[in-house]
């Protein structure tokens, strides 16, 4: 069938600068660039270009640029080019549209409607270069109070805690959805910076065992890679109920990606599809979740925190309250902009709610019920920079999860083609030729640099607010003001509008 879908991008090559070195030809896994020996020139097949910029970055003479195809449809507010092209695609394939990374639609980004406070006159700001500035964060269940004996010795037993030097962790990305080198990069950065990475539902590859002390191991609906050794390997266990990019549906790693390594790590035969069901088939209600939480705690002898990750959906605050009461040690909430290795486009773009609102309502609800203090709250799914982290913590989060930001640090260009497995940056692929493009030495350095840079910025902003320990920002919504938000939004976020005093 002839496709009606015209290419999204156009490759522009400066013929004067092109030296026919063929780096672009060799680097493009989508086979956009081809060398024509007869004419001694490199030509491009635009329709295959995903706009990942691998060729642009590696071209030694900077002869290439990629532009959006300027080809326009007749202007139509309702029928955008994207709406039309999606229909062409489905008319030609009869299939569900698939995509990668997070929701890219023009929904409000609440982070950008929040502004941070700073001290002036009545309260001195603190200079982090000269004064101590503490970011240490504990994730885990906290008793409501401490008890001491007559000699001042602590009697209360403190449940297991994750001790973070920065309030930022790498969220779940399985080996399978991303490459072993990407996993290793994040694992090594976690060790270096003093935070945690998360295995996702991919099991723990042998190569990653050296970094297990800094791993959160996930137990998801497919139970891939889960056995007692795995559960005991990490520092915490996370039960994955849902993911912000695709709330309500499971995962599917196609058989062609299940090579020997993935097969061993996930404990499934080579070449079989790894299908994570939509629900956990042993969790149809909150009391079932409680059973799994305690089964996992038993398996690790109550030595590790067990958390539960859910997608931000409409009733998230009641669900979070139930999870807290079911005995979880932390709740991770993943917002609707959270990324994924593959999701149906319609679900990614239309299901779930913004994490800023989910976070505010969960924090408020847990406080109303007197539970907030006992359980840790982690949010992810759209954190782009240190200011987002500050805002999340002021709204009430204990720590944040980042994944898209981390992958961008490794080289991801957000081309949203993770699901094709042809990631030119060696991140979302299992092709050995592509995987080795991500040198874990470089990846670990870039990922740890990102966390270090953000913690410097967080310290600067905390100092500006006159705070020298992160815990004094936690839930401190007086440090935030809204701009351009309506009454209802301000009410849910629990903040005042810019211009209102304290």
């Amino acid at each position: 069938m002839k496709t009606l879908y015209e290419s999204d991008f156009i490759v522009i090559r400066d013929e004067i600068r092109c030296i026919r070195c063929k780096v672009c030809v060799r680097q493009c896994a989508n086979e956009v660039h081809q060398y024509d020996e007869e004419d001694d020139r490199v030509i491009a097949e635009n329709s295959r270009c995903v706009g990942c910029h691998r060729c642009v970055t590696l071209c030694p003479t900077k002869a290439i640029t990629i532009i959006r195809n300027p080809l326009d449809f007749r202007e139509n507010y309702q029928w955008t080019a994207r709406a039309i092209k999606d229909i062409y695609k489905q008319a030609e394939t009869g299939g569900i549209l698939l995509t990668g990374m997070g929701n890219d639609k023009e929904y409000p980004i609440y982070w950008d409607r929040l502004l941070i406070n700073a001290s002036q006159v009545t309260n001195p700001s603190i200079d982090p270069l000269r004064e101590p500035m503490e970011l240490k964060t504990f994730i885990g269940r906290k008793p409501e109070k401490l008890e001491f004996d007559n000699y001042g010795r602590l009697i209360t037993e403190i449940p297991p805690q994750l001790e973070l030097e920065v309030p930022i962790m790498f969220s779940a990305m399985s080996f399978g959805s991303i490459s072993i080198n990407a996993c290793e990069s994040l694992a090594r950065a976690s060790v270096e910076v003093g935070t945690f990475w998360n295995t996702g539902e991919g099991g723990l590859h042998k190569k990653l065992y050296p970094y297990k002390e800094r791993a959160i191991v996930q137990c998801a609906s497919g139970r891939f890679g889960v056995d007692v050794e795995y559960l005991n390997a990490g520092s915490a266990i996370e039960i994955k109920i849902g993911q912000g990019a695709k709330p309500g549906i499971g995962g599917h790693l196609p058989g062609e990606k299940v090579g020997e390594e993935v097969s061993q790590t996930r404990m499934i035969p080579i070449g079989t599809d790894a299908i994570s069901p939509a629900p956990h088939h042993d969790i149809y209600s909150i009391e079932d979740l409680r059973q799994l939480i305690y089964a996992l705690k038993e398996a690790v002898n109550y030595k590790k925190p067990v958390g539960v990750k859910i997608a931000a959906v409409h009733n998230v605050s009641a669900i979070a309250s139930g999870i807290a009461r079911a005995g979880a040690d932390y709740i991770a909430i993943d917002g609707f902009r959270g990324g994924t290795g593959a999701a149906p486009t319609r679900i990614r773009d239309n299901v779930g709610i913004p994490v800023e609102l989910a976070l505010a309502s969960v924090d408020t609800r847990l406080r109303e019920e007197g539970l907030r203090n006992q359980i840790s709250l982690i949010v992810g799914g759209s954190i782009r920079n240190s200011a987002d982290v500050i805002k999340a913590i002021a709204l009430g989060a204990d720590a944040v999860y980042i994944a898209t930001s981390a992958l961008v640090a490794l080289g991801c260009h957000l081309c949203q083609n993770c699901h094709t497995g042809k990631c030119n940056w060696g991140i979302a692929t299992q092709d050995p030729n592509l995987v080795k493009r991500l040198n874990p030495d470089i990846g670990a350095k870039r990922a740890s640099n990102l966390l270090k840079a953000w913690s410097h910025e967080i310290k600067e902003m905390l100092g500006g607010m006159g705070i020298n320990a992160l815990e004094s920002l936690r839930g401190n919504r007086l440090m935030l003001r809204g701009v351009g938000l309506n009454e209802k939004e301000l009410e849910i976020l629990g903040i005042k509008h810019a211009g209102e005093g304290i």
């Binding site: 030296i19 063929k22 780096v23 060799r26 590696l58 030694p60 030729n433 080795k436 493009r437 470089i442």
Partner: protein, 155 residues
């Protein structure tokens, strides 16, 4: 006592991405110009002194340069004395003026690190960018797959 260099360029084949940029920058370094475009448009473009070996199909790639052996067979085989050890650095260098293109060195090199130059006359081999400091292939590898190490570092 003859000065022997302990410097070696080591390829890391697990992260070599087969882009051939090492070759491209090697050509530039030995072209006498600082402009890549000019270097490539020159008729007498030099040959690269680093070779990215590729095994198609399974596609293992790594960049190979002269090992600057302690006991170099190429020097022994050279009929004109063009192949020699530089007195100051201990690097093994080919004086292209004296090379007659007999290719004896190519036959004896156990690593296959020596090649004919484009004009077929002289051999072309890695000089560790003797005049530039750090070798350009190492400097310009986008994935840090080449590394200049002293032999002691290996232990």
């Amino acid at each position: 006592m003859e000065l022997k260099t302990k410097k070696r360029i080591y390829p890391k084949e697990d992260v070599c991405i087969g882009c051939h940029l090492c070759e491209i920058y090697c050509i530039l370094a030995h072209s006498g110009t600082r402009d890549l475009i000019k270097a490539f448009k020159k008729l007498d473009k030099p040959s690269p002194r680093v070779l990215v070996e590729e095994k198609d199909g399974y596609y293992i790639t790594f960049a190979l340069q002269c090992r600057h052996c302690d006991d170099p067979l190429c020097i022994k085989a050279c009929i004109t004395g063009a192949m020699h050890r530089d007195e100051n650095t201990g690097y093994i260098i080919c004086d292209e003026e004296r090379c007659v293109g007999c290719w004896s060195c190519i036959l004896v090199c156990p690593y296959g690190a020596i090649r004919r130059s484009e004009d077929g006359k002289a051999v072309s081999k890695c000089d560790l960018c003797i005049e530039k400091g750090n070798p350009v292939c190492v400097e310009n590898c986008p994935n840090e797959a080449l590394e200049l190490k002293e032999l002691e570092d290996l232990a």
